[in-house]
């Protein structure tokens, strides 16, 4: 057992961070998505989208653990959300797709040809997929999704819907007849959030992911999504902490750097503790989803709930440490605050995941009791 990351994993993250740093508009105060296509090309050239794709489908065959630090870097660099949603979709297709689905899609994913968006949430369904109102009946998809990040630029949609026997993930072409994409007005316009209407969209027989056990594909999509989003939050939080510490070292008031005052120093120390704690939760979730560990669901929920709180805390505190400057548009902290907030509420918020953590823990305790009784 070793919880440290190896040099390849660290160097991948470093390279991703450098690539993103080439596009200053990603983190500039103005809310623009002008660089998105170029960013996509740069990350494609880097080979990012081939990393998770198995070798048999022309990929590299790495695991989520290998990408954990790179996902932090994507978060810290405010990468277009389509990047992470495509990685998430890659995992879903690779783990649960049929042979033909994998052969048709994964080689194209590997060369950056497919931008994939995830349509999960609905305006009146909360986070629980069992109450999902978008339906798939007789190969026809009907309903409305909200907050689909990057939908307008996507080449493919992964849509969570209620099938005949429970929740399913379906593959939908955004250009299919009956699909209407409309941009939201929202906190983080650079996430490209859209509402999508599916008006009795006809799908072919092979549109469902994981035909044999479709609900498992949905569960994994949620767990991996929660994990990837937790990882991004930690990237944002770590970057904000750095910004707060740098400012505290250089900003002088009352004749000394404000970081010498315990009121500021201690806030920074608490942020540092929160960032490391959040990383512990996030890294474990990356490991648990990579290995499909028995506690995968709980690990993912812990990471998402916890890192959501850490992201919120560190963004708020960083603005406070910056004082009046922190509230200005020109400093650009609002970019991280906005992105952190929308990530916090995607793939389950803290309240939803907390409930899941308790349910999973109680179920495990009951299970352990039963096993002990059977053994006795």
């Amino acid at each position: 057992m070793n919880f440290g990351f190896d040099e390849d994993q660290k160097s991948l993250a470093h390279t991703v961070a450098q690539q993103l740093a080439d596009f200053p508009s990603l983190i500039a105060p103005e809310l623009t998505t002008a660089a998105n296509d170029e960013v996509w090309r740069a990350l494609t050239d880097l080979g990012l989208f081939a990393l998770l794709v198995p070798e048999r489908n022309d990929g590299v065959g790495l695991t989520m653990v290998d990408l954990a630090l790179a996902v932090e870097a994507l978060g810290a660099g405010l990468a277009p959300p389509l990047v992470v949603s495509t990685l998430l979709a890659t995992d879903a297709i690779m783990r649960h797709g049929s042979d033909p689905q994998q052969r048709a899609l994964l080689p194209r994913v590997a060369i950056g040809e497919l931008k994939i968006a995830i349509a999960l949430l609905e305006a009146d369904s909360g986070y629980d997929v069992r109450t999902c109102r978008t339906t798939l009946t007789d190969e026809s998809l009907h309903g409305e999704k909200i907050l689909v990040a990057g939908a307008a630029d996507a080449d493919l949609l992964l849509v969570v819907a209620s099938g005949n026997n429970g929740p399913v993930v379906v593959l939908v072409e955004p250009g299919a007849a009956g699909v209407t994409v409309q941009a939201h007005d929202d906190l983080d316009p650079t996430s490209g959030h859209c509402a999508i209407r599916f008006d009795r969209v006809k799908l072919d027989g092979d549109a469902v992911l994981g035909q044999a056990a479709p609900a498992r594909a949905v569960e994994r999509l949620l767990d991996v999504g929660a994990t990837l989003y937790a990882g991004q939050l930690m990237g944002i939080a770590a970057r904000m902490l750095d910004a707060a510490v740098d400012y505290a070292k250089t900003r002088v008031q009352f004749g000394q750097p404000i970081g010498a005052f315990q009121a500021i120093k201690h806030r920074c120390a608490d942020m540092a503790v929160a960032v490391e704690a959040g990383r512990s939760a996030a890294y474990y979730a990356f490991w648990a989803v990579s290995h499909d560990a028995p506690d995968r669901a709980r690990a993912a929920s812990m990471a998402k709930a916890y890192c959501g709180d850490v992201g919120r805390h560190v963004c708020n505190e960083t603005i406070q440490v910056h004082g009046g400057m922190g509230f200005t548009w020109e400093l650009g902290l609002h970019r991280f605050l906005r992105r952190s907030k929308v990530i916090e509420h995607a793939f389950g918020d803290a309240a939803w995941h907390n409930e899941r953590i308790v349910a999973e823990t109680l179920a495990e305790m009951t299970g352990a009791d039963d096993r002990n009784q059977n053994a006795a």
Binding site: N2, G4, A269, D270, A281, Y284, W287, A305, N354
Partner: protein, 396 residues
């Protein structure tokens, strides 16, 4: 990064698990518990330490030449996990193992290692810590207990406070002033003091929990042979920083995490059985949110420790990261006990042996005890200074 264990590590776990089955008292943690009486409890914990030693499970990650078994830090982590799984008792010589032994191992002479380490491993000698004084708490470097050299002896005079387990200890390591005329950090030395020495007296201090684990320890012309200094004269501050890094380190944090996990599991079981209105205490939505937070935080304590173990394994030095671990677990554990009492609702005040106290009143006692977590081994304010200045590089 891999959170899975190697076959050798799994083998280690299996051997320990097998041993534990026979070693624990019949009915342990179900019908048999630690004695309530403090002195009996101390004896019980000492007996348990000796049993671990007899089985070869004491001081496992120390070198074989001093009686250890040369286990890795990961095996040390597995050891802690298995003790937790079995709900094993605490030892009484935690200060000997985690602080005295590790400091001597790092900075002691060969003669000191041979003299002291085996007796810590066997718990023939229990240790206490003489750092804090009434006027040197957070400002530890201002200790006033004097040690004056006379020939081959130091003569020690002064007072230490918060000396846990002094009444059960054979030895004490102490930070003392050997030069009053230099800046305060530079006139300190680290002495090993035999508690049987004439001139030592102990007065128990009662804590807010009602227990008297702490003491005041008085030194009145106590003679300490010069060979009992660790490191050089006036180099005690550096030695003490090692001790503190271990005191706040992942071994300590993981050991505590295990207790917290056990208590949290018991709390969940009790709340699931505790009737409230038409349902059970566990059904309350607000309670569930807070329990989830504590479940997560207790797991994060474990992961923080394991990540830190890995850093050391991969060659990084022990440093201010220990403060991060300590600051985290202390506040998380306090939150957990607050949650425990709130979750019990109207039953929260029922403590001790009241027949309706939940879990035998354990949560009320732990809640009281938890108030010390953010104060001892460096208050949270001191930990934040260390993290701010030494990890983040903020100005002093």
């Amino acid at each position: 990064m891999d959170f899975a264990y190697t076959p050798a590590e799994e083998e280690f776990r299996k051997a320990l698990r097998l041993w534990l089955v026979d070693a624990l008292p019949q009915g342990w943690a179900e019908t048999v518990f630690e004695p309530d009486d403090e002195d009996e409890r101390a004896q019980f914990r000492l007996d348990w330490e000796r049993k671990l030693h007899a089985g070869g499970w004491s001081g496992i990650n120390w070198p074989k030449e001093y009686g250890g078994r040369g286990a890795t830090l990961i095996e040390r982590g597995i050891f802690a996990e298995e003790m937790a799984r079995a709900g094993a008792p605490e030892g009484i010589n935690i200060i000997g193992h985690n602080l005295a032994g590790t400091t001597i191992l790092r900075h002691g002479t060969e003669a000191q290692k041979k003299r002291f380490l085996p007796a810590i491993i066997s718990s023939d000698e229990v240790w206490c810590q003489g750092f804090s004084e009434p006027n040197a708490g957070s400002d530890l470097a201002s200790v006033r207990t004097r040690a004056e050299r006379h020939g081959d002896k130091f003569i020690v005079n002064g007072q230490k406070i918060w000396t846990s387990y002094a009444q059960y200890s054979q030895w004490c390591f102490a930070l003392v002033r050997t030069d009053p005329d230099v800046p305060k950090h530079k006139g300190l030395s680290f002495l090993l003091i035999d508690m049987k020495s004439p001139g030592i007296s102990i007065r128990p201090l009662r804590q807010i929990s009602g227990e008297s684990e702490f003491n005041e320890t008085f030194f009145d012309d106590v003679e300490v042979p010069v060979e009992n200094i660790v490191g050089d004269i006036n180099d005690g501050w550096r030695i003490a920083m090692t001790t503190l890094a271990y005191e706040r380190g992942p071994e300590d944090a993981l050991g505590r995490q295990i207790r917290f996990k056990q208590e949290l599991d018991r709390l969940l079981a009790i709340l699931a059985d505790q009737k409230r209105g038409d349902g059970f205490a566990i059904d309350d939505a607000e309670t569930r949110q807070r329990l989830a937070r504590s479940i997560t935080e207790v797991e994060v304590m474990r992961l923080n420790s394991l990540r830190t173990f890995s850093k050391y394994l991969n060659g990084e030095e022990r440093g201010p990261d220990a403060s991060l671990l300590k600051l985290y677990w202390s506040h998380a554990a306090q939150r957990m006990y607050e949650t425990a009492l709130d979750a019990l609702g109207p039953l929260a005040p029922l403590a001790g042996n009241d027949r309706q106290a939940a879990g035998g009143g354990r949560f009320q006692m732990s809640w009281l005890q938890s108030k010390a977590f953010t104060i001892y081994s460096g208050s949270s304010e001191i930990q934040r200074n260390i993290i701010g200045e030494r990890m983040l590089g903020l100005p002093r």
